[in-house]
């Protein structure tokens, strides 16, 4: 019996470890995917973020709202590691690891994604070529001997993702963001999100510059990607994108701080009353 017991125990132990390992591989630290604590960021020596606290987990959709110049995009760029954004205090962990020590490419390969407000054009580099390179550097990082995704397989994969976003397949042959309309750029960002399959995505003003039809298509695409594996931080100035992408949490940023957090009703309240009712809430002066 003792022998049997010990075998059972070993068996159980191995299964538990396997399950944990699988979970860690899939979710990392499931309790706090992206954790921002007291983040201070300066641009050209000018303090922009003044102590931001935020936690985004896989499966959650957070909306970050606030007036122009409140620091929303600064948070997005700092999270991705833009060299022009200097973190002066605070910490950010991603899957339990210090995000701020990682170069932007490492942040991306670990599962963080930023949909840019103003995606830059890279003439001469086709969208397909770029996406294949992006996929292959990930595979290479995971396995140095990887030979890259075979082209036919990549084409099938890309076409499926483009269909999801109702994109013409010819789009893949165009130079990245070069001469794209506002709507095309945002759609290309959504395509990259779909292809790279991150754990946490930051969508920086994805609704800006879109007409109603483009907004609907992009939002539907983003919704199709949402699910238990993807956490999202949707940065927006307006409430209208939230008619399509339903957030679980809403945060309001004023002058470099999150001054109010709540459920979806907060966005509606903001829509009714504007940002003025929140003034005076900074630096803990407000009632909260």
């Amino acid at each position: 019996m003792r022998v049997f017991d010990s075998r059972l125990w070993l068996c159980y132990n191995a299964a538990a470890r396997w399950a944990m390992e699988r979970q860690r591989k899939r979710y990392g630290d499931v309790h706090a995917m992206l954790q921002v604590r007291n983040l201070h960021v300066s641009v050209d020596g000018q303090p922009i973020l003044k102590g931001v606290n935020l936690v985004v987990r896989q499966g959650e959709i957070h909306a970050l709202m606030g007036p122009n110049g409140s620091g929303k995009s600064t948070l997005a760029k700092a999270l991705m590691g833009h060299p022009g954004y200097e973190v002066t205090a605070g910490e950010v962990t991603f899957k339990g690891q210090n995000l701020l020590e990682m170069a932007p490419d490492e942040r991306s390969r670990r599962g963080l994604f930023l949909a840019f407000q103003y995606p830059v054009a890279i003439p001469g580099v086709s969208l397909a070529n770029f996406l294949r390179t992006a996929i292959n550097v990930r595979r290479k990082a995971a396995d140095p001997d990887d030979k890259g995704l075979p082209i036919p397989e990549f084409r099938r994969f890309l076409k499926a993702k483009m269909d999801l976003l109702q994109m013409d397949h010819r789009f893949a042959g165009r130079y990245l963001n070069d001469g794209f309309s506002g709507g095309e750029k945002k759609r290309a960002e959504a395509l990259q999100l779909a292809v790279l399959e991150p754990d946490i995505a930051v969508l920086d003003e994805t609704d800006s510059g879109l007409d109603i039809d483009a907004l609907r298509v992009v939002s539907e695409g983003v919704n199709a990607l949402a699910g238990p594996d993807l956490g999202m931080l949707v940065i927006t100035h307006y409430q209208r994108i939230l008619n399509y992408i339903k957030p679980h949490f809403v945060h309001i940023m004023l002058d470099g701080e999150i001054v109010e957090s709540g459920g979806p009703e907060l966005a509606l309240k903001l829509e009714e009353r504007g940002y003025t009712w929140l003034e005076g809430k900074q630096n803990g002066r407000g009632s909260g």
Binding site: G81, H82, A103, P104, I122, P123, G124, V125, F130, T133
Partner: protein
């Protein structure tokens, strides 16, 4: 092997060794006199102001007389298999492979041969098609008087491809030439003659490994396009970094002739090239694309001219230059429009991408317009790799070197897309990747 200097005796020896007809021997001797009469270019000459050739030990390099080739057509040295094999794998109408100016392989498809197309080495052409060569060789396009190095070339030229396409023939698939340098001295001459209505594509590769000491390439290119012809010419220069290159290259275009000329220059220690298109016939049109990438302490100097000598002519030049380390590029371009050349369109643009703070690009566009009904534009830019572009690519998981590589590949794409031959394009792309 003892090296000989550039002397009258050396000219005689070379001509005798090549078993040339008297006219060519006399031509060489006359050119050598021109060479002796011209001063060595210096920093005081406008065209040479930014290119210092004082460290060049020209006379100790000397001419290439016979070398290790016992007789014409039976060389000992073969180019490396990895250089030749990709060329042979392409679909071509003919291939000419030379080592130090002596032919090791020369093929031409039966179909082209039957149509009267000639594709061979210049010496064979001189021996077998003497009159045809004589009426064109260094007369209309690059005369020995074009400069000190043109005269030196005329006296000591050796090897290079000869392409002749008779009237009305479309040579179709590309013809490919490789000149491999193993002895550190090449003087190849490229002569293309397209008769009325003919069409052709020619790709030439100039390559060598890095050798010890200074090496020399003193070349000339003559592209003669009669009326209604069309030529695509791609020149790929990948010399080892000990080669000092001096070339004079000129195209002459007849009525409604069309030239697409891609100039890729990635090798050499120092390179000074004069590249000119003469739009002699009404309706002629020429496009020149440059793809230049230098690193280390390389110095690439391109002097281009777009000469509009007839009405309704069009020229369009785009030189793209990427520079690493302490490398330097000089591009000096001129559009000349003669009074008769009304309704001319002339464009030139030079884009420089500096990948290091220590790299330097000089860009000197110029216009000389004597007609009044013309449209000409010129522009030059010098910029660094855009950090926003690099960040954008890094944010998608590309490590910085991969991101930079993609930005540079994108920078060259506009010119690369113009390379009509897939094999040549792949070779260029590989060369760019190696360099980044």
């Amino acid at each position: 092997m003892e090296r000989k200097g550039f002397t009258c005796e050396a000219v005689e020896e070379l001509s005798a060794y090549l078993d040339e007809p008297g006219w060519m021997r006399d031509f060489r001797l006359a050119a050598f006199e021109v060479y002796q009469s011209l001063p060595m270019p210096s920093l005081r000459d406008e065209a040479w102001r930014r290119t210092d050739i004082r460290p060049l030990q020209l006379d100790s390099i000397g001419p290439f007389l016979n070398g290790n080739h016992p007789s014409p057509g039976s060389p000992v040295v073969e180019p490396p298999a990895e250089v030749v094999a990709p060329l042979l794998a392409q679909e071509t109408g003919g291939i000419l492979v030379q080592v130090d100016g002596a032919t090791v392989r020369c093929t031409l498809s039966e179909e082209l041969g039957a149509q009267g197309v000639l594709f061979t080495d210049m010496h064979m052409a001189v021996r077998e098609h003497g009159e045809l060569v004589r009426s064109h060789f260094m007369r209309q396009a690059v005369p020995p008087t074009a400069g000190k190095f043109a005269a030196l070339h005329a006296a000591f030229w050796r090897g290079g491809p000869f392409l002749y396409v008779p009237a009305g023939v479309d040579a179709g698939v590309p013809l490919v030439s490789l000149l491999w340098a193993s002895a550190g001295r090449t003087f190849s001459h490229t002569l293309v003659v397209l008769e009325h209505g003919a069409q052709a594509t020619l790709v030439t590769h100039l390559e060598s490994r890095v050798g010890s000491g200074q090496a020399l390439h003193n070349g000339a290119v003559e592209l003669l396009l009669e009326d209604d012809t069309r030529l695509q010419y791609v020149a790929v220069q990948e010399w080892g970094s000990n080669v000092w290159q001096f070339t004079h290259e000129r195209a002459r275009l007849g009525r409604n002739a069309d030239l697409e000329w891609v100039i890729s220059s990635m090798g050499s220690r120092l390179s000074k090239s004069f590249q000119t298109v003469e739009l002699d016939g009404a309706g002629a049109s020429a496009r020149m694309y440059g793809l230049l990438f230098a690193d280390g302490s390389q110095h690439l100097d391109h002097d281009t001219q777009q000469n509009h000598n007839a009405p309704d002519t069009t020229s369009d030049l785009l030189f793209k230059v990427a520079l690493k380390d302490r490398s330097r590029s000089v591009w000096q371009g001129m559009i000349r429009v003669l009074p008769a050349a009304q309704r001319t369109n002339g464009y030139q643009a030079n884009r420089n991408l500096l990948l290091a703070e220590t790299a330097r690009a000089d860009s000197i566009p110029g216009l000389e317009i004597e007609a009044d009904d013309v449209r000409c534009t010129h522009g030059a830019t010098v910029g660094q790799a855009d950090e926003d572009q690099v960040f954008y690519l890094m944010s998608r998981g590309l490590p910085r070197p991969d991101a930079t590589r993609l930005v540079v590949a994108g920078f060259f794409a506009e010119v690369m897309d113009r390379v009509p031959v897939l094999g040549a394009r792949e070779r260029l792309q590989a060369a760019i990747q190696r360099r980044i």
